[in-house]
């Protein structure tokens, strides 16, 4: 909603405008690049709203619940103003040279108490705020000239030295801009531009009008993505009758248990924790016989008087007790390896389980940083000295909140400095530091992932090693270093007190502030020396969580997790040929992401709001729009290559069994196994931090292997089931054939009944596997049917006279129930002998194998 002032200005603006009268040569000449903002105000004043359409005819709805879908004149004016600011000033002049030091945690602010503070692009409507800041400084004078010009040219003292020497092109551009601002053309009052102060960017109205997937198709896509299942028939019927229930259906979906697993997956793309045993914790050496008792004594000598999180010491004591009980103090194999593995997995999962706990209880998502508790399951509780060793087979999926306490070295028990995920052993073990790095990598992680601001982006200046060497303490005193380090070294003490070598050991004696750069600092606020040192992490976490960029950063993560596409990056290179279009696309998407962040913040900082809003947006639902400009279509439409995890769940959901069988009584997914996960573009905690989003030949080869194996296994299993239990071959029987012989030795003729049943089953498969609603006689089904018939004929002709056909691979015979684990937990349950199907007497198994192999490699099966 606009405030009264802007409404008044808009009214006057519309009343006063005189279309076309100010597009004379005088104004055009003055708009040579770089565009002058001050001048452009007046040209835009003339142009805005003069596209032949009357604004009165545009459909608008200015209620908060339903923002207008059509851009208003003022919005168009302000958008153009912002674009010119980005292109003419911000990107070429201010980003690289000013923003690094003149952000609120930069060297200029902290050291010089500079008043000139610029916001990163990731703040809501940062362009307008920065424009206002620059405009206000343009009026100030120093040493007889503009204060800004005097600073950048080094005429007056400037911590960053000379940025743009007098006479340089950049200096000239800035001078021109300031001159225009300070000496506006003599313009009648009637042509004063509207204020953009309260006109925030929003998603391009053309995206609001894009053709979306209908409610059913959207929900199917969401159930596969979020819950790894297909919609139920009840859900489909409900949405068919009342599509407006899509929102509530989505909200219900986000309450399912599977959502919390997906949530953990989305956030683990950021954290890269080892959830499948790719990495163990250090105590894995309990499983090694190479270590001697002396090693342990050395390692765990009372070097540290506190031992949070207390994992290694606990397990050492367990080991010692077991060895003592066995009377053998050298037998390290007495350690329960299964327990150690379960503890390792529990510790890696702890931060994600905390995230899930916060979401499940609809707590503010800021608690992922600020929670003064963590969560444990029976295994991590055991490791934290909070419970006894779990009995064999104890489930690991029961998590509850606890506050960790320190047990040793202090007179009384006291809480350790818990701070959401930041103080977990997993975070500290994955995002390590060194004695010279001093938590700076962790600082970058904090800033990049929780404040949507990469510190490294400040440092586009080349590093001159000779200059660095000549500077005492260059991270403080050399501008080339300080540009990053002031900001970074304010964040890095967040972790002070956590060991530099033993990553997850809290050592309060290290939490000291020897130098001012090691005091925690956020946005110019310095951690008070009088505070208890161990409060530094919670102190910082609270400030990060309260920053407006925090919900925005969380929305960025959710957006990429759901859509598989990275949010557009701010286009800072104005030399790109389509810069204006890219900027418009970024602003549109960025405005949408900020809108979602704002809704999330307004609704209790509930992360489910971010999921819901993105799932309902064109970025998830867009189907077709040939008219949409290419740059606005970036990130829209189907064609997202499914991740190994999502495709694994889709296989299980659509086919009724996983590709990979069973392991320890649970479905085993080959795609996420060590064998195929990396090949298929998945992440790995130490080797591959980024997912592949573009298909390659190896990925198609893995998908082909899956399709062949599943295509081979499924038909016999399906036909071995009772008809009511089938989920794939539901319209046919094992002897339903496309052709028949009316007499022995006679010619093959069309079996119209068989053909119709097969076609209907194929249409059903297209629906089940791809979500396509097709007629049994559609071109798509024609293709599948032709494949079926040719395969059937080939096998029939090859076996003519023999009456039956063998199944090529023993694994594909219908001997097993592919949905049930055997008593060993690692293979399938065998079907009763009378139910087994071990030969292809009607050649239909081969024909269905052929079709399923074809379908399971389809573009629409491995993409969404």
């Amino acid at each position: 909603m606009q405030n009264d002032t802007s409404k008044h200005e808009l009214k006057n603006f519309r009343r006063r405008r005189r279309c076309g009268e100010k597009t004379s040569g005088h104004w055009e000449k003055r708009l040579e690049w770089p565009l002058c903002l001050a001048t452009s105000f007046f040209l835009l004043l003339a142009l805005a709203g003069c596209d032949g359409k009357s604004s009165a005819n545009k459909k608008t709805n200015e209620t908060e619940e339903d923002p207008p879908t059509v851009e208003t004149d003022v919005e168009a004016f302000c958008k153009t103003q912002r674009q010119q600011f980005h292109q003419g000033l911000w990107a070429p002049l201010f980003i690289k040279a000013c923003q690094g030091c003149h952000n609120s945690s930069g060297a200029a602010i902290l050291d010089e108490r500079a008043r000139f503070v610029l916001l990163p692009e990731t703040y809501p409507n940062a362009a307008q705020a920065n424009l206002n800041t620059i405009a206000s400084f343009a009026k100030e004078q120093a040493e007889g000239s503009s204060y800004l010009l005097a600073k950048v040219s080094g005429k007056i003292p400037h911590l960053g030295n000379t940025i743009y020497p007098e006479g340089s092109e950049e200096y000239r551009q800035l001078e021109s801009f300031i001159s225009e601002l300070n000496n506006p053309p003599n313009t009648p009052d009637a042509e004063l531009p509207p204020s953009c102060e309260n006109v925030a960017p929003r998603m391009d109205s053309r995206l609001s009008a894009v053709q979306l997937l209908d409610a059913q198709a959207t929900f199917r896509k969401a159930t596969i993505n979020i819950a790894g299942r297909l919609p139920t028939s009840e859900e489909e019927a409900r949405l068919e009758q009342t599509p407006e229930h899509l929102r509530t259906s989505m909200e219900a979906l986000l309450e399912e248990e599977a959502f919390y697993e997906r949530l953990k997956e989305v956030f683990n793309d950021m954290f890269l924790f080892s959830l499948r045993g790719q990495r163990g914790f250090a105590f894995n050496y309990f499983q090694s016989k190479d270590y001697t008792r002396t090693d342990f004594d050395t390692i765990y000598a009372a070097t540290y008087y506190e031992d949070f999180p207390n994992i290694q010491r606990k397990l050492t004591s367990v080991l010692n007790r077991r060895m003592n009980e066995a009377g053998d103090t050298t037998n390290f194999s007495l350690v329960n390896a299964a327990t150690a593995t379960a503890v390792s997995l529990a510790l890696w999962e702890e931060p994600l389980a905390l995230i899930a706990y916060i979401a499940r209880n609809n707590l503010p998502f800021t608690e992922i940083l600020t929670a003064n508790y963590t969560v444990v399951n029976p295994y991590s509780a055991y490791a934290y000295n909070l419970g006894e060793q779990p009995a064999e087979g104890t489930p690991a999926n029961n998590w509850w909140p606890v506050q960790l306490i320190q047990r040793q070295g202090t007179p009384t028990e006291a809480l350790v400095p818990s701070s959401g995920i930041l103080s977990t052993a997993a975070f500290l073990a994955q995002w390590t530091t060194t004695a010279t790095n001093l938590h700076r990598g962790r600082a970058e992680f904090l800033s990049k992932n929780f404040l949507a601001t990469s510190i490294l982006s400040f440092a586009q200046r080349p590093v001159n090693s000779t200059q660095l060497d000549a500077t005492n303490n260059p991270t403080v005193n050399n501008p080339a270093c300080a540009v990053c380090h002031y900001y970074m070294d304010g964040l890095s003490p967040t972790f002070t007190g956590f060991g530099l070598g033993t990553q997850a050991t809290y050592q309060p004696h290290l939490a000291t502030w020897d130098n001012k750069i090691y005091l925690p600092t956020f946005q110019g606020e310095i951690f008070p020396r009088s505070h208890n040192n161990r409060l530094s992490m919670p102190w910082m976490a609270e400030r990060i969580a309260a920053d407006p960029r925090f919900p925005y950063a969380m929305v960025l993560r959710v957006f990429e997790g759901i859509t598989g596409r990275k949010p557009l990056e701010y286009p800072s290179d104005i030399t790109q040929p389509n810069y204006v279009q890219l900027l418009a696309a970024w602003e549109s998407q960025n405005a949408f992401l900020h809108e979602v962040a704002s809704k999330m913040a307004q609704q209790g900082m509930n992360i489910k709001v971010a999921f819901r809003e993105i799932l309902l947006s064109p970025y998830f639902r867009a189907a077709q729009d040939a008219q949409l400009p290419a740059e606005l279509a970036i990130g829209l439409g189907e064609g997202r290559l499914l991740t190994p995890e999502i495709l694994s769940r889709k296989i299980k959901a659509t086919l009724g069994t996983a590709w990979g069988g069973f392991s320890n009584f649970l479905p085993n997914h080959s795609l996420t196994s060590a064998t195929y996960n990396v090949l298929y573009g998945g992440i790995h905690p130490t080797e591959n931090a980024a997912r592949l989003t573009q298909i390659n030949t190896i990925i198609t080869a893995v998908a082909g292997a899956m399709a062949r194996e599943m295509g081979c296994r499924l038909p016999a299993w399906e036909f071995a089931k009772l008809p009511a239990e089938r989920i794939l071959l539901t319209h046919v029987q094992v002897d339903t054939k496309p052709l028949r012989q009316n007499s022995p030795g006679g010619p093959l003729e069309v079996d119209s009944t068989g053909e119709q049943a097969i076609r209907e089953n194929l249409a059903y498969l297209h629906k089940r596997l791809f979500g396509e609603n097709l007629s049994p006689h559609s071109p798509e089904v024609d293709l599948s049917y032709a494949l079926f018939v040719d395969a059937w004929k080939e096998r029939a002709e090859a076996n003519e006279g023999r009456g039956t056909s063998t199944i090529a691979h023993g694994s594909c015979a219908g001997r097993w129930d592919l949905s049930q684990a055997s008593s060993t937990g690692s293979s399938y349950t065998e079907l009763p002998s009378g139910q087994q199907l071990t030969t292809d007497a009607h050649y239909t198994l081969y024909a269905w194998e052929t079709v399923l192999t074809y379908l399971l490699m389809d573009f629409r099966f491995i993409h969404e």
């Binding site: 060194t434 004695a435 010279t436 490294l456 440092a459 586009q460 590093v463 090693s465 060497d469 286009p571 389509n578 189907a623 077709q624 949409l628 290419a630 740059e631 279509a633 970036i634 990130g635 829209l636 439409g637 189907e638 064609g639 997202r640 290559l641 064998t675 195929y676 090949l679 573009g681 080797e687 592949l692 573009q694 298909i695 390659n696 030949t697 190896i698 990925i699 198609t700 080869a701 082909g704 292997a705 899956m706 062949r708 194996e709 295509g711 081979c712 293709l783 395969a791 080939e794 090529a808 691979h809 694994s811 594909c812 194998e849 052929t850 192999t853 074809y854 490699m857 573009f859 993409h863």
Partner: protein, 445 residues
């Protein structure tokens, strides 16, 4: 520059066209015949003073620059650190993996060494971007990706750009990045009719052929249904990948029955670099089979903020074994690659000319080295240099082996200089219009 701008500038719209009538990969089609490229990144920042830019003395603050030696070895134009790289760096009697001297004895004639190359950064990500993409501030595709992009415009290539992890692997979406792990895994999936990891054919050849034809028609149908640009683009990528899939089997067939392993090269050395050795083997045989154009490999944990010398020696030993395997394999007559493969070895940057207090580690340093091997590249040369204190030193742009003061027109070598030259010898100059490089070209290769 974003991907779409690039496509426009490069005039390559093929990837955006759905079903452009491409033919399936087949033995009878023209095969890409080179040039090929292998880029190896010493992950984390290697210590150049530990091999071919030795610094036996103190820096200008009086601190020792390398604790592992006090003298320098020389061989022709090369200086080298007189150290050995052993399996156990703490045990001088343990198995010798390699040494700077030994490497020069075997390969100096092919080695072009660039010293004092100024990456102008001490940030890992920027360093890798600069060294392998050629630009300090723009995320260009890596030079390996550029070569694969160019080759893919004219040839169906199943795995044009190969990698495992690490290094700098930007492609701007213009060519698929293909990750590989082990040879055995690839063999499990490469055969289009088999049950995975089995020799049993599930489908007849005719059925398999019909499936492929049906897929082609299905893609044509989908191309008519999808209108959003990214949907069409995803379909086009799927189409290309599906077509090229048939090229995997011939590639696997061309491989030796036993994959390369470290024990073959250094009996007793274990298995520590088997994965990257096998990736190199896959790349080289992929070159020969016409399936691969370039490979980006990475090795080691060179980010030695603690215990620098011991760790650097371990990882450099492995790196030198890997380089030697590649060079020797290329030279084998049967491979028919001797005049077709370029090999570039570099790192994020280098390490400081002093040790960190207490940890014996070294931090990041911008002046690094690069090793280049390839057809028509004259070996036995050292271009660029560092000063005594390991700062990048100025050299004569007309003859970069010679020092020349800045005042007299001397320049400091930068990664961009190498990229100008790599683009020239690899035929990638067309990218200069869309992906311009900084600095004036200098004759290096």
């Amino acid at each position: 520059m974003d991907r779409r701008s690039f496509l426009k500038a490069a005039g390559s719209f093929a990837v955006l066209l759905p079903w452009a009538g491409s033919k399936a990969f087949a033995q009878s089609q023209p095969r890409y015949g080179g040039p090929f490229l292998i880029c190896i990144n010493a992950e984390g920042g290697w210590d150049t003073t530990m091999f071919f830019d030795p610094k036996p003395g103190n820096n200008d603050k009086g601190a020792r620059m390398n604790n592992s030696y006090t003298t320098v070895g020389t061989r022709g134009p090369f200086s080298y650190a007189p150290v050995s790289f052993r399996v156990d760096s703490a045990n001088e009697n343990s198995l010798l993996l390699h040494s700077p001297e030994g490497f020069l004895n075997n390969h100096a004639n092919r080695l072009l060494l660039l010293n004092g190359v100024d990456t102008t950064t001490n940030a890992h990500s920027v360093g890798k971007q600069t060294v392998w993409g050629g630009h300090p501030t723009r995320e260009y595709p890596s030079v390996g990706a550029l070569l694969a992009i160019k080759a893919s415009q004219d040839f169906e290539l199943p795995c044009a750009y190969l990698s495992d992890s690490g290094g700098y692997l930007k492609t701007q979406g213009l060519v698929p990045l293909t990750r590989i792990t082990s040879t055995s895994t690839l063999r499990n999936i490469a055969y289009d009719r088999r049950f995975p990891a089995s020799a049993t054919n599930l489908l007849s050849e005719q059925t398999s052929q019909r499936i492929q034809e049906a897929q082609e028609k299905r893609i044509e149908q989908l191309a008519q249904q999808l209108h959003m640009p990214e949907s069409k683009e995803a379909l086009a990528h799927y189409n290309k990948a599906m077509l090229a899939k048939n090229g995997l089997a011939p590639w696997m067939e061309s491989l030796p029955s036993t994959s390369i392993n470290l024990e073959q090269l250094r009996p007793g050395a274990g298995t520590v670099i088997n994965p990257v050795l096998q990736q190199a083997e896959l790349a080289l045989y992929g070159f020969r089979a016409g399936t691969v154009v370039s490979a980006s490999l990475s090795l080691g944990a060179f980010d030695t903020h603690a215990n620098n010398d011991a760790l650097q020696r371990i990882y450099l030993g492995r790196l030198f074994v890997l380089i030697e395997y590649i060079l020797n394999k290329i030279a084998e007559p049967d491979m028919e690659l001797a005049d077709k493969v370029y090999v570039v070895v570099g790192s994020d940057f280098a390490r400081t000319p002093a040790y960190n207090t207490n940890s014996a580690g070294k931090d990041h340093w911008n002046a690094t080295s690069l090793m280049v091997f390839g057809p028509n590249i004259e070996g036995n040369r050292v271009l660029g240099r560092t000063a005594a204190n390991q700062h990048p030193a100025h050299v004569n742009p007309q003859n970069p082996s010679q020092p020349l003061s800045e005042e007299s027109g001397g320049i400091v070598l930068k990664p961009s200089h190498l990229h100008h030259e790599l683009r020239r010898v690899l035929g990638l100059q067309n990218f200069n219009s869309s992906h311009g490089l900084l600095d004036t070209p200098v004759s290096l290769l």
